[in-house]
C-alpha cells in the first residue's frame, strides 16, 4: 500500500515564514530587532509556532497610550513597535513593569536622581525577541488553534496567561 504523503508544495507552504515587513518607526523611536533576527527566531521555533501567522510588522505607529511594545491582532498579525532609544528615564517602576523588565535591563540613577533603565549590549533586542515577540506568538497560537474565530476565544486574563506561559516555555526550549 502506498503511504500517504503530503503534497510537496503544501508541505512547503506550511513551513513558509510569514511576511515580515519593516516599517519606519515613529520619529524619536528606533527598531529593537531586525527582519533577520525575527526570521531566525521563527525558524528556531519551527512551523508549528507560526502556522497561520500572516504577517509580522516591525515599526509603524504605536497606539497613543503608554509605551506599547507589541500587539497581536487576530487573525494572524503581529506588530512589534519601535521603542525610544535607551536609556529610558522613568519616575518609578510599577510592579508589573518591574516584572516585565525583569530580564536584561539595568537600573541606574542619573545626575538629577532620575531612574535610568539601561539596556547594555544586546539585552534590548533579546528582550523584544524573547519576551515581547514570543508572547505575541503565544496569543496567535491560542487564537488560531481554536477555530480562527474573529472573536476573543478566552477571557483577556486567561489569554495573557497562556501567552506568557508559551513565551516562558519557548525561552527554556531555545536556551
Amino acid at each position: 500500500m502506498t503511504p500517504i504523503v503530503l503534497d510537496e508544495s503544501r508541505e512547503a507552504a506550511t513551513e513558509a515564514l510569514p511576511r515580515i515587513v519593516h516599517r519606519e518607526p515613529l520619529p524619536g523611536h528606533v527598531h529593537a530587532v531586525s527582519k533577520t533576527e525575527v526570521e531566525e527566531l521563527l525558524r528556531a521555533l519551527g512551523p508549528t509556532a507560526f502556522y497561520g501567522l500572516r504577517i509580522v510588522e516591525l515599526g509603524g505607529p504605536a497606539p497613543a497610550r503608554g509605551l506599547v511594545l507589541g500587539r497581536f491582532e487576530a487573525p494572524g498579525r503581529i506588530r512589534i513597535f519601535g521603542v525610544p532609544p535607551p536609556p529610558w528615564r522613568l519616575a518609578a517602576l510599577t510592579e508589573e513593569t518591574e516584572r516585565l523588565l525583569g530580564a536584561g535591563a539595568r537600573r541606574a540613577r542619573d545626575e538629577h536622581g532620575a531612574l535610568l533603565l539601561e539596556w547594555p549590549g544586546s539585552t534590548l533586542r533579546d528582550f523584544v525577541l524573547r519576551h515581547v515577540l514570543l508572547h505575541e506568538i503565544g496569543h496567535h497560537l491560542l487564537q488560531h488553534h481554536t477555530g480562527k474565530r474573529l472573536v476573543p476565544i478566552a477571557r483577556t486574563r486567561d489569554h495573557e496567561a497562556f501567552a506568557e506561559r508559551f513565551a516562558r516555555r519557548a525561552r527554556e526550549r531555545l536556551r
Binding site: E24, P25, L26, P27, G28, G60, P61, P63, A64, R65, G66, L67, V68, L69, G70, R71, F72, E73, A74, P75, P84, W88, R89, L90, A91, A92, T94, E96, T97, L100, L101, H112, G113, A114, L115, V132, H135, E136, H139, Q143, L150, V151, P152, T156, H159, E160, A163
Partner: protein, 347 residues
C-alpha cells in the same frame, strides 16, 4: 451685519482672539462686558435681544443642534458665546432662538477655548453647515497623525493642544523650533500647560525631529496634508481621514513662512490644503486655524457607531509598559525633585 457676541468674558486675551475669529469670516464682534474689562464695542442685554435675529447660542446645552449640517436664516444673525468657566448667561440661553454645539470626541475634555470654539462654529455656519459628522466602526483607524509646525507662542500652542485632545487625538507631534513647549522656562511652561488644560488633557506631545535636527533618511509618513490659510485644495474636499500613515501638518503661519519650508522632508507626497476662508486678510491666530483644521479632520474621522450597531472589532492584545498611576504620560522623570514628562526632556 452678522455679529459674534462674547457674553461676560473674563480674559482680555480671549476677547482679542474673539475679534480675530470674527474677522476671519467677515463678521462683526461685540461684547456684553459684565466684568468691566472695557471691551468695545459693548452691547447691553436689551440691545442684543432687540437688534439681532436669529440669536444663536453656542453652548453644549441639552437639545442643542450639532454644528455639522446646521443652517439658519435671518436678517441680522448673532452668534453668542459665553464666559470661559460659566458659559452663556442662563436667561440669555433660554431666550436664544436656537442653540448649537460642537461635537467633541474626548470624554475627559469637554470644552475648547472660547475663541477657538467660535472660529470652528463660524467656519461651519458660513459654509452652510458643511457635511455631517461621520460614524464608523473604528474611527481611530482613520485618524491621521498631527504635526504642529513651528508654533511661536506657548498659549496658542496650548489651546491648539486642548482642541486636539477634545477632537479625539491621543498624540500630536510638535516641531518646536521656537522652544515654546520643550525645555522652556517655568513661566512659558506654565502658560502653555495652563492653556492646554494639562491637568485633564492626557494627550501625548512628542517632539518632531526637524529644524536644526533634520529627519534622518527618508520621511516616515506616506502623505502629508499641509493646512494653510492661503491657496490650496479646500480642506473639506480633501479626504484627510486616511489613517496614521498620513500626517496633517498645521503650521503657525504667524511665526514661519510656509513658502520657504522644505515640506518634502515630512512625507513622500505633500498636498497643500486650504481652510478656504472667505477673507484673506485678518489678524492671524494659530489656535484658531489649528482648531478649525482639527475640527474638520475630526468630522471626517468621525465617531464610533452606537454600541451593537457596527461590525465587531477583531480581538487584539497589547504588550505595554503600563502607565504610572496618576500620571498622563508613560515615561516620567524626577528631575530636581519635580516630576517632568518625557516630552519635556531634550531628546
Amino acid at each position: 451685519m452678522s455679529t459674534l457676541v462674547g457674553d461676560g468674558l473674563e480674559n482680555p486675551g480671549n476677547a482679542s482672539a474673539l475679534v480675530a475669529a470674527a474677522s476671519m469670516f467677515g463678521w462683526d464682534c461685540a461684547f456684553l462686558d459684565r466684568a468691566g474689562l472695557g471691551l468695545a464695542p459693548a452691547l447691553t442685554k436689551d440691545e442684543l435681544l432687540g437688534q439681532f435675529s436669529p440669536l444663536l447660542a453656542l453652548e453644549n446645552a441639552p437639545g442643542a443642534d450639532s454644528i455639522h449640517g446646521f443652517t439658519f436664516s435671518g436678517p441680522r444673525p448673532a452668534l453668542l458665546v459665553g464666559n470661559e468657566r460659566k458659559g452663556i448667561d442662563r436667561d440669555l440661553l433660554q431666550r436664544a432662538d436656537r442653540a448649537v454645539r460642537i461635537p467633541l470626541a474626548s470624554r475627559r475634555l469637554d470644552t475648547i477655548n472660547v475663541a477657538a470654539a467660535a472660529a470652528v462654529a463660524l467656519y461651519y455656519m458660513t459654509r452652510g453647515g458643511g457635511g455631517k459628522l461621520r460614524t464608523r466602526a473604528e474611527p481611530n483607524r482613520h485618524r491621521p497623525e498631527v504635526l504642529f509646525l513651528g508654533p511661536g507662542d506657548a498659549i496658542e500652542l496650548g489651546s491648539a493642544l486642548r482642541s486636539a485632545a477634545a477632537f479625539g487625538w491621543g498624540r500630536v507631534f510638535v516641531e518646536d523650533r521656537s522652544r515654546v513647549w520643550f525645555g522652556t522656562d517655568r513661566v512659558m511652561r506654565s502658560l502653555g500647560r495652563g492653556a492646554a488644560r494639562r491637568s485633564r488633557n492626557a494627550i501625548h506631545v512628542l517632539p518632531f525631529p526637524g529644524g536644526d535636527r533634520p529627519l534622518a533618511g527618508r520621511p516616515v509618513f506616506d502623505e502629508a496634508c499641509v493646512v494653510t490659510r492661503g491657496e490650496g485644495e479646500p480642506l473639506h474636499r480633501v479626504d484627510v481621514a486616511r489613517g496614521p500613515g498620513r500626517l496633517l501638518v498645521i503650521a503657525d503661519e504667524g511665526a514661519l513662512d510656509l513658502a520657504r519650508e522644505d515640506l518634502g522632508r515630512l512625507a513622500r507626497d505633500v498636498r497643500v490644503v486650504s481652510l478656504d476662508l472667505p477673507r484673506s486678510e485678518f489678524p492671524y491666530r494659530f489656535k484658531l486655524t489649528a482648531s478649525i483644521a482639527l475640527a474638520e479632520a475630526g468630522r471626517q474621522v468621525g465617531v464610533r457607531l452606537r454600541p451593537g450597531g457596527g461590525r465587531a472589532r477583531p480581538p487584539f492584545y497589547d504588550r505595554a509598559l503600563p502607565l504610572l498611576a496618576g500620571h498622563a504620560d508613560a515615561l516620567l522623570v524626577e528631575k530636581r525633585g519635580v516630576a517632568v514628562a518625557l516630552e519635556d526632556l531634550p531628546l
